[in-house]
């Protein structure tokens, strides 16, 4: 039982660290409500084995283009669906960049 403790700590620590990275990348460029929704979408992508970089990029792109929070949330959610479609279309073993390129093509 004691030998499994480090594994459990690592299993919890890695997602927390990755989530912290996403939060740091988003910084203060989104309002808190939009940031919460975007981070939830990013986490959903991560648990499905999808690349999360394009989602964070999309949110930042929206912020730079001065889009509203609602529009950013919609864009990130739409991109998540496209990533999933692209991953399925490119099965069995597409890489993260392949999936992102496929999602771009589906836009």
């Amino acid at each position: 039982m004691r030998s499994r403790l480090p594994l459990a700590v690592v299993a919890v620590a890695i997602p927390v660290a990755l989530s912290a990275q996403d939060t740091a990348r988003l910084g203060s460029r989104l309002d808190s409500a939009t940031q919460t929704v975007v981070l939830r979408t990013v986490e959903s992508a991560r648990t499905r084995g999808l690349p999360v970089e394009p989602l964070v990029d999309k949110a930042l792109e929206g912020a730079t283009k001065r889009a509203t929070g609602a529009r950013i949330q919609a864009a990130v959610s739409a991109l998540l669906r496209r990533l999933e479609l692209a991953r399925d279309a490119l099965a069995p073993n597409p890489g993260p960049r392949d999936i992102a390129a496929g999602a771009d093509a589906l836009a």
């Binding site: 990348r25 792109e61 929206g62 283009k65 889009a67 991109l79 771009d104």
Partner: protein
């Protein structure tokens, strides 16, 4: 030992004499001995020192078979990894970028060939120069390669001209970008346009690396 070719020496002549003095060989006895030896060899499956092709496969311990299989798999994986790295490096060396020059009053990216010291096999970052030509107080580059951060990549103006430029290491592939000219979103008029169904603000497209 000074024998000439074709002439038997003294030792050979003595051996021949000794063999002639033996009684004649019984052919049936030889056949029986050979047959019984063959039967004994067939019944005895243990390895012998004089076996030319000893049957060791059936007797090899299971751990040895597993180890052999693992070694073979590791070898194949190493070979595959080596080939993959070799292809990656070749692709990086073959990067070909075209150069364009901006005209007065327009903005255009200038793509330059990557130099080896700036590239790593994995990241494959390619130094890419962007040029904006026009009057402005401040010009910044934003794109998917710098987190769309309008503070991250300011362009510098060449003294005595209206040319602004910056060189950024970018991963190979397709990227979207734009200039912020005095905080105004400005697309590159000479670059292909990237439509934007999500936010409705078009950008410019740059393809870094081989098509």
């Amino acid at each position: 030992m000074a024998e000439r070719r074709g002439e038997p020496g003294e030792i050979v002549e003595r051996a021949v004499e000794a063999l002639r003095s033996q009684p004649p060989t019984d052919g049936d006895a030889v056949a029986q001995i050979v047959a019984s030896a063959a039967r004994a060899r067939a019944e005895d499956s243990s390895p012998n020192d004089d076996d030319l092709f000893p049957a060791v496969a059936a007797r090899r311990p299971s751990w040895l078979r597993v180890a052999s299989f693992a070694a073979a798999v590791a070898g194949i994986l190493l070979l595959g990894f080596g080939l993959w790295r070799s292809i990656q490096r070749q692709g990086t060396r073959d990067t070909v970028l075209t150069a364009t020059r901006s005209a007065v009053g327009s903005a255009s990216p200038v793509f330059r060939a990557a130099s080896a010291p700036h590239e790593s096999a994995d990241a494959a970052l390619v130094p890419t120069q962007f040029v904006f030509d026009g009057r402005a107080r401040h010009v910044a580059l934003v794109g998917d390669f710098n987190n769309w951060d309008d503070h991250a990549t300011p362009l510098e103006r060449e003294p005595g001209s209206s040319l602004w430029s910056v060189t950024v290491p970018i991963q190979r592939g397709r990227h979207i970008y734009a200039f912020l000219v005095d905080s105004t979103w400005t697309v590159d008029r000479r670059a292909p346009v990237a439509r934007d169904p999500d936010f409705g603000v078009t950008g410019s497209v740059i393809i870094v690396g081989r098509p």
